[in-house]
């Protein structure tokens, strides 16, 4: 693809998200979401591989339906209350419709089915955009919507997402699908706390973006998309292999790593809100996710698969990929936990 076209597409991605961020009118928010969807389509279908085109088509259908539903619900609201403002959404059916449509847009649990197949059809770079940047605009709307939405709906979405994210990932051997399910589980953590403390949602979003970017960039560096090729990653970049295991555990949320911080704060918030049962279920569901992260760690660092002698040589090859972003993100993935007091101060 020509660099000019890439520039236009990437700047439109930015434009769409920025429009949604700054809009107070539903029509403008919808426009931002549409620009976002339109701009990523050619990036997804970049290689014109059958799987890429199929993923693009599925993504387009899901996103277009969700966007139209968002606008429809706000139209209902405008017909009954005369208000187009995002903060003036009071019609109950409209709030539920919009929340479900936004859930479809980001891929929350009962409407998550497009997400793993779509991720599977993409290259790792586009998958990275899909898992991080494309979540920002819908989440800006979800956070604004949360005070008007039925609390039970948000809790159900959150719990279902963490459980389905955990269970779905157990059966996969494809890294991109595993990362898609990990994304669904993290989205569940984000949505469960939106109604109590939206700042924590932003915190989870930020940490999730950091961690998942580090993971995607690692897999891209190793050019691997399946678990069985992970087993030979020690021969390519030994240092990254060792750190990637820790990054995966950070995604799983183990204590001395960054991923523990949002989970800790969310559990604390849920407990303070008097929801010990929800908190317990969230914690238990984290075990499900942790299982498949651990399996990736095991395949990556704890075993050496039988191999021929010359397959251990790739570390000699010169690496052409830029590693500075990966280094920064990896360090942030592993070592942000000491910033918890700061995060706590900022979110209070």
């Amino acid at each position: 693809m020509s660099p000019y076209v890439i520039t236009i597409l990437l700047s439109s991605l930015g434009l769409g998200t920025a429009l949604t961020f700054m809009s107070s009118h539903w029509l403008l928010a919808w426009m931002g979401l549409e620009i976002n969807t339109l701009a990523i389509l050619p990036l997804m279908a970049q290689h014109h591989h059958p799987r890429a085109v199929e993923a693009t088509t599925k993504y387009f259908l899901a996103q277009a339906a969700a966007a139209a539903t968002i606008l429809f619900a706000s139209t209902i609201n405008a017909w009954t209350t005369g208000e187009w403002n995002i903060y003036c959404l009071s019609h109950p059916a409209a709030t539920i419709l919009i929340t479900m449509a936004l859930a479809l847009k980001v891929g929350l649990a009962p409407v998550h089915f497009w997400m793993p197949p779509v991720m599977q059809g993409l290259t790792l770079t586009t998958g990275l955009i899909m898992a991080t940047w494309q979540k920002l605009a819908p989440f800006a709307l979800i956070i604004q919507m949360a005070p008007f939405t039925h609390p039970l709906l948000l809790t159900t979405l959150g719990l279902l997402s963490v459980f389905i994210g955990g269970w779905g990932g157990l059966n996969q051997t494809q890294l991109r699908k595993i990362l898609a399910y990990s994304s669904i589980a993290h989205l569940g953590w984000m949505i469960i706390v939106t109604q109590y403390k939206p700042q924590l949602t932003v915190l989870v979003l930020i940490t999730y973006i950091i961690m998942t970017s580090a993971t995607f960039l690692t897999f891209k560096l190793m050019a691997t998309t399946k678990i069985n090729t992970l087993a030979m990653s020690w021969a390519k970049v030994p240092t990254i292999t060792a750190m990637a295991a820790l990054a995966l555990l950070s995604l799983g949320g183990l204590p001395p790593l960054t991923g523990f911080m949002p989970k800790w704060l969310i559990l604390q918030e849920l407990t303070m809100q008097g929801l010990p049962l929800t908190a317990t279920m969230m914690t238990l569901s984290a075990l499900l996710s942790l299982y498949f992260y651990l399996r990736l760690c095991y395949a990556m660092t704890l075993t050496i698969s039988p191999n021929t002698n010359n397959s251990s040589a790739p570390w000699r090859l010169q690496n052409t990929q830029a590693t500075a972003p990966l280094a920064t993100l990896m360090i942030m993935t592993l070592l942000l936990l000491p910033l918890t007091p700061l995060a706590q101060t900022l979110t209070n």
């Binding site: 029509l27 919808w30 426009m31 549409e34 339109l38 389509l41 279908a45 014109h48 591989h49 059958p50 799987r51 085109v53 199929e54 993923a55 693009t56 088509t57 599925k58 387009f60 259908l61 277009a64 339906a65 139209a68 539903t69 606008l71 429809f72 139209t75 209902i76 405008a78 017909w79 005369g82 793993p116 197949p117 779509v118 599977q120 059809g121 779905g168 996969q172 699908k177």
Partner: protein, 98 residues
């Protein structure tokens, strides 16, 4: 529940139902999407006309521009799918099943 409100609501719901449940051809799905956008256009225009909201009258036109873009992208995807899969039947989009 006025007749106008009822009409565009049921038109949109029918389009969404058709998109969700009956998916033989990709083109049918795109037509359902178009039907949804059509009902939204009518809804926005009638809202503007009934409330005499002059400043809002650009909104249906902007919506039409965006839905034209969406339809264009959808038809481009139709062409791309027909090239890679050889048909526009949605059942053949089965390379990425979980």
């Amino acid at each position: 529940m006025t007749p106008v409100y009822f009409s565009f609501t049921s038109a949109f719901t029918l389009g969404l139902t058709g998109l969700a449940f009956h998916r033989t051809h990709l083109l049918s799905a795109l037509l359902c999407l178009e039907g949804m956008m059509l009902s939204l256009f009518i809804a926005l225009a009638l809202w503007m006309l009934q409330l005499e909201s002059t400043a809002f009258s650009a909104a249906p036109i902007l919506l039409l521009a965006f839905s034209a873009c969406e339809a264009g992208a959808g038809l481009a995807l139709l062409v791309a799918t027909a090239r890679t899969h050889g048909t526009d039947r949605l059942q053949s989009l089965n390379l990425l099943q979980c």
